[in-house]
Symmetry: C2
Subunit: 426 residues, 2 copies
Amino acid sequence: MKTIQFPNRSEWSTLLQRPALDNTSLEATVKKVLDEVKERGDEAVQQYTKQFDGVELKAIKTEANEFAEATNLLTAELKEAIQLAAKNIEAFHGKQLSAVEIIETMPGVQCWRKSVGIEKVGLYIPGGTAPLFSTILMLGIPAKLAGCGEIILCSPPNKEGKLHPAILYAAQLAGITNVFKVGGVQAIGAMAYGTSTISKVYKIFGPGNQYVTCAKQLIQKDGVAIDMPAGPSEVCVLADASANAAFVAADLLSQAEHGTDSQVLLVTTDNSFVEKVQQELDTQLAVLPRKDLAAKALENSTAIVVKHIEEAIDLVNEYAAEHLIIACENDEAIAAKIINAGSIFLGNYSPESVGDYASGTNHTLPTNGYARAYSGVSVDSFVKKITYQKLSRDGLHRIGRAVELMATAEGLDAHKNAVTVRLIEN
Amino acid sequence: MKTIQFPNRSEWSTLLQRPALDNTSLEATVKKVLDEVKERGDEAVQQYTKQFDGVELKAIKTEANEFAEATNLLTAELKEAIQLAAKNIEAFHGKQLSAVEIIETMPGVQCWRKSVGIEKVGLYIPGGTAPLFSTILMLGIPAKLAGCGEIILCSPPNKEGKLHPAILYAAQLAGITNVFKVGGVQAIGAMAYGTSTISKVYKIFGPGNQYVTCAKQLIQKDGVAIDMPAGPSEVCVLADASANAAFVAADLLSQAEHGTDSQVLLVTTDNSFVEKVQQELDTQLAVLPRKDLAAKALENSTAIVVKHIEEAIDLVNEYAAEHLIIACENDEAIAAKIINAGSIFLGNYSPESVGDYASGTNHTLPTNGYARAYSGVSVDSFVKKITYQKLSRDGLHRIGRAVELMATAEGLDAHKNAVTVRLIEN
């Protein structure tokens, strides 16, 4: 970890720069796969599964007995842990549903807004060494709460043509039974365009490698919505002298182990604290299974020492972290001044990993500075908020003249006329 | 208007097809302007304003005296109409703000969510024959309510280097004082990348022609968010025998006058009603100032007659209209079954134009079928919802084991360790 002491504000943007993300070079490859899936459906999906996942499947849809088998393979304590996480996620997201309230903006002019679940949504869960079953809870539970009619899930099969049992268990727990053993660009294509087996959906959620990310960007052009733009995961820890160096080092490492492109930033007002964290990093890193990965990510990471907490807050707001840990004495007062962040962890006992798994908040969050304009996934992400208005004859007579005048001033006479024909009615 | 009677469901997707939107051919042109603005800032903005708007401006920022002058140029009754609309929009959108609620998902595990206004937003208002000052209210009022720190507005100047007085009046009423006389791609570029005069913003809102639409698509790749994908405006009227043919014809025309690519669809269970509407269309069209435009849009429009109201509802849901007028006896029962629409107008006295201007709902809505997955603009569009969690030592001890188990099962040991170091603390 590089340490930068008391940088000038003019240096901040350079110091906080993230790696440039450019998928342009992949576009042609990805587009070809998408086009093939669009044209040839299941046949193309099967072909790419053979090519990229190295397995030939008779059926891509998961059957009831596979769910049952998966449940038996997991330990009781892991299942209980997943259940606890699901319960907390449901408790937090359940409060995001809002009742319809009719607002009479003028007598006889009633307006309201109703959240309606997106009819068909698709969730993508990557395969690889770490089976991200926690992401299934983070996407599936809000989707169910939102009232989405059809929820499908795609994830790449292993060489034996199977999905990790924890993936199937989490899916079943979240109430998702349409689970397909399809991964990569072919999964995104299948959900975006539909095949005989996989339904076309209106919005696609979930993480993925750079090919999946590129595919999600491309299908947007065909009118399919996505959860949010993607980028490497990141954590920023804002610490003062009250922080615990061992805790902070552990938090930095938990982000660093994601991959060499992970972004890890420590901001502190206490110069000596950085040295303590550095020592803890060395000790903790030595025993980590993924230490090579984490060590590489740490090489690209930075500790910044600033003079005052107010300066630290400005710096953190400029960075706009996906995860922000505030390990400071006045954590709540500082949190109140944060305007750019995905999710905030307050105090010494709120490591990022509790939010990653089980506190109840969502872990699908805006990274790469997107936190300036985007929110993390919530029930909102799975609904459309439709607006409604109903005017009485009286209400239209009250508001009509204003509409006529504004429409005329905008040069839209037919807009005016739609009111006029109703006002002059006998 | 073509009439289709009792089509098979298998024909629906063809019947409801919208024109393909493809900006690919413009991309190179648009990208060049964006790149120039990115590199040369104000100088490039001035150059393109001269080239595209035919005017050389000394200063692009609107001064206080110009607002005062604009206010004097408008009639008192138009100003009152705009004030009435602003009041209703504020009343409706004001209810979209939500209070923070702390949810204890487990004892000692507190989670909450707070809406924080996006720090810098940019609004774009097109120029041309119809000055869309109503859109300023629709974007500016929610932006203010959301608590956005900096709100800037760009709109192209006319040949005299001025903005329409109603634009300046509406901006001032909405509390927007950073108004720039810049239009087209150069305006989108200036707000996306910043110039010496115009601030870089994090999210850009507002309608525009195909060049502006293409520019908004392109700047997304550089991490700037946009309100929603764009497409031609559209209305669908669902009418039964209780509907008034004159009213419905006026509603269809109010959409048709937007442009030749406007989408107009009538769905009814009453065959004879279509003929009545057709007669009314002929009568009303003859006296419209924009009749040539509207007549052309009507040529591409369709009336579909179906047998039952349930079939009509399915059809309307498949279309996913930006604006849906339900001119039926059981309007509320039918509205409850609509799952895809931007904004819904119930009954005989709720023409689309009331929502376009003054009922209080937003008129920036998802078109082109995007209503399946997207919502219209609201206060939500101008905020990020940041999540927070704070655990007590006790809370962490309660949830810690579950997090450790899940992290281990995902192969993320450093995630586990961030909890473990805290649990074993003396």
